[in-house]
């Protein structure tokens, strides 16, 4: 069977268009995955800050710091959730308190600070790893500005825990 000139042209156009469609889908999927894993990390922070702030184990000034960080984590969750909504992607389900290992067993302020440093660092590590895969300019900027804020959280928490405030020149969330 001989193809008409129009069929040849259409086949050629489809072939040319397909890679860019695939690339666009790929980019969207990677953006959604990065936003989703970042939101999951933020949700852990939200639940943890709220639980610790209400646990009655913090000095008043430290409790105030935790509440302030909780508000900021809520703002991060909203921004990431809105971004996923706009992409038509579903948000991860926030964890319950008892699903976050170690949260319910915190008894002292020192333990709470160490715990908070841990989940903030894990969140930073998640953002850091996402950066290589993200190509969407808005998502990059949102995630980086959240990463910067969480870097500031962990800095203040380290100071409260009497640890070196900024121990490394490159903040990757690694120990």
């Amino acid at each position: 069977m001989r193809l008409t000139r129009r069929q040849v042209l259409m086949a050629s156009a489809a072939g040319a268009a397909f890679p860019s469609v695939a690339l666009a889908d790929d980019k969207k999927a990677m953006t959604a995955a990065a936003l989703s894993s970042s939101l999951a990390a933020v949700q852990v922070a939200v639940v943890s800050y709220e639980a610790i702030a209400n646990a009655g184990i913090l000095e008043r000034s430290v409790q105030s710091t935790f509440r302030s960080f909780l508000q900021q984590e809520n703002a991060h969750a909203k921004a990431l959730g809105d971004a996923l909504d706009q992409m038509g992607k579903s948000q991860p389900v926030p964890p319950r308190r008892n699903e976050i290992g170690g949260l319910d067993s915190l008894k002292t302020q020192a333990q709470a600070l160490a715990f908070a440093i841990g989940f903030e660092r894990r969140a930073i590590s998640t953002y850091y790893r996402s950066m290589s895969n993200l190509k969407d300019a808005n998502a990059l900027k949102t995630l980086a500005s959240i990463m910067g804020c969480d870097g500031q959280h962990v800095t203040v928490l380290r100071q409260l825990a009497h640890q070196p405030a900024v121990p490394n020149a490159f903040e990757t969330g690694a120990a």
């Binding site: 850091y128 290589s132 990059l140 500005s145 500031q152 100071q159 900024v166 990757t172």
Partner: protein
Amino acid sequence: MADPPDRARLARSRRTFIRLTGATFLGGSAAAIAACGGGKKQDTETTVSTTQAQGDAAVLNAALELEYTAVAAYEIGIGMLKGRALADAREFLAHEREHAAALTRAVTDLGTEPVKPRARSAYAAGFPRIKSATDFLDFALDVESTAVAAYLDSLAALNTDPLRAEMASIMTNEAEHLAVISGLLRRPQVPNAFVTGESPT
């Protein structure tokens, strides 16, 4: 300390100078190297064109010039500090030098000549008059804040995937410096949920 109108004027002139220094920050984009510095080596390597590599090198070179500015600022201001502030500034100076070294390596890996630091006096000539520890800490806030804004703006311009992660790790480190310096100045250490590098002064 200067009264509020003077402080506002000083802050404006500081920001103008730093922005001029980093004016070429957003030159273009990317390349094909593993990483520029602190983080772990990435598994995936991207292939980018020569033009993209040159673009990335331009972005990194502008970042490098900002790091040289920060190094000069800390070297000049450190003599005014004592105690905790001095210890922190020494540490941050070391960090800025590490950033500069990492960026130099990255630009070289992209096949481009890294910019060289100018004489310290050349940077100092553009700095505002710093007469006290508070003046210097205010200036350091502007230097760090400008760097954060520049790194944030550069991320989307980079084509080399691992470079974005490394630039974000430097940007976050500068944001951490901001938190410490703000604390030394008895200002809110984490004033915003989204760090954008907008100057708090």
